[in-house]
């Protein structure tokens, strides 16, 4: 009976920023999939809800050197310092309305438990957590199109991306019926992954070497020698994480050929980037 929790997964994604066109399909599919409410007037982005948000970054250079990159940002599902599950938001929630699922690596959010103190929002540097400032108001008839697999939220609670956890629940349910132990890689994919027309998002189990995401990211289980709080750093020199140096240990990785994009993923003091950027290339060689 204990088999249920025997195998630990670590679901994560890698987003190829060079493929992303900024079309916004991921945002739209996410909102539709997860019953995300919207406002009549969406012009103020600071109080509207977009679990998956696409940021626009530029290299700050004048024409003709101007380059633009679009960066989709779901909840980063941080595993926290040292990867022990104390993500910035989970450890601060006073009412245990969010936890770190050690069996999946997914950071949950339970709307009926949350009482809206918003401490988690303050603690999250990615702005991945959103508050329901209003009760959701659906246009006439749209309620019938809400997904029954995702519970709707009420005003006054925090919500965020769940890596479409309900899809995992449903995939597992099917596996149970067919008396299988495990689900296939393609049985559990997030809405944004499946919606991306460019195929920029790859989702899977970072603990499973067969999964595409693991093949791209090649996560290093050893702590970063420069910062013991950081684990799961990618051994692919083209892959980086957002604000990796803070030790949040996100499970959303980004991939880009362009150096300025990789640099934009974190903060570096003057001259630091030059010493850090090739770090992984070096360790890879020394590891053989």
């Amino acid at each position: 009976m204990k088999q249920e929790n025997k195998k630990e997964h670590k679901f994560g994604m890698v987003i190829d920023l060079d493929k992303c066109t900024g079309c916004g399909s991921c945002m739209v599919s996410c909102m539709a999939e997860n019953n995300v409410p919207f406002k009549e007037d969406e012009s103020n982005k600071k109080d509207s809800i977009t679990w998956m948000r696409v940021y626009k970054l530029t290299n700050g250079k004048d024409f003709p050197e101007t380059e633009v990159v679009y960066m989709p940002r779901p909840c980063q599902h941080c595993s926290g310092k040292g990867g022990h599950g104390h993500s910035p938001c989970v450890s601060v929630c006073p009412a245990t309305a969010t936890d770190y699922g050690k069996d999946t690596g997914i950071v949950s959010q339970i709307y009926t438990r949350c009482f809206g103190c918003r401490y988690c929002m303050g603690a999250c540097p990615y702005h991945a957590r959103y508050f329901n400032w209003w009760d959701p108001k659906w246009p006439e008839g749209m309620e019938n199109y809400l997904s029954p697999n995702v519970s709707p939220r009420m005003r006054g609670v925090v919500e965020k991306c769940s890596f479409c956890y309900h899809r995992y629940q449903l995939a597992r349910e099917k596996a149970y019926l067919e008396e299988r132990e495990e689900i296939e890689e393609m049985e559990y994919q997030t809405a944004c992954t499946t919606a991306c027309p460019a195929g920029a998002i790859v989702f899977g189990d970072l603990n499973n070497p067969e999964h595409e995401v693991t093949k791209i990211v090649k996560p290093d289980d050893h702590p970063d020698p420069r910062n013991p709080d950081v684990v799961g750093k990618s051994r692919n020199p083209k892959v980086f994480r957002l604000l990796e140096r803070l030790g949040t240990n996100t499970k959303v990785y980004y991939l880009s050929e362009r150096e300025w994009v990789r640099k934009a993923g974190d903060n570096y003091t003057e001259g630091e980037w030059e010493t850090i950027k090739n770090h992984h290339g070096k360790t890879q060689i020394s590891h053989g």
């Binding site: 204990k2 069996d103 009926t112 956890y165 449903l170």
Partner: protein
Amino acid sequence: MSAIENKSENRSTENAGEGVSEDTRDDKGLGLGVIFFLVAFVVCFLSGTFLFPKLLYSKKEQPFNFDHALHTSEAGDCEACHYYREDGTYSGNPKLASCLDCHSEEPLGETEDEAIFVEEYVVKGKEIPWLVYSRQPDCVFFSHAAHTIKAKMDCVECHGHIGESTVSRPYEENRLTGYSRDIWGKNIFGIKKNSWDRMKMDDCAECHKERTGHQGYCFQCHK
């Protein structure tokens, strides 16, 4: 507390008036206070035990009576009507179409309920608005497959002996939450004797802890 206050108020007025105190008077005040306290306690206790649950829950009747015992003897076990779909999800209460596998516009029995069923629902082609005793809140994900197939649990463990019932008891709805009373349980103190007496998160966790060694992460049962 009230006894003491009664007494001291009593005393102070006397003192203001006469400047002397009499112990007998004091005792009387104390005695009244104790009686008041006891009466208040009994009133609160009784109303809390008997009146409060009546106020908290509204009783609703099912559209018509459903005889589980009769159906299981005719149609087979639970899964004959409450089956799994191909994608692993659980069908829950059968739709009218399933009923029509056996029933038709010709009543199968002579009961009044059969007559209501045929006239109101079969003839009109309307789904039966059953009130589901075990309906969990929106935020709950429950996989029947995980429990009955993977963990090989029996329906009775959570649902009790509903399959042997001949009458549909009234559905009790919590006026505040809108949830079925079967979630909290019949016992107002939340005490349970059988595994099916309650369907709270605590009950899920208790069983999970016992059988899997962990009460589960939030998303195991929430959506």
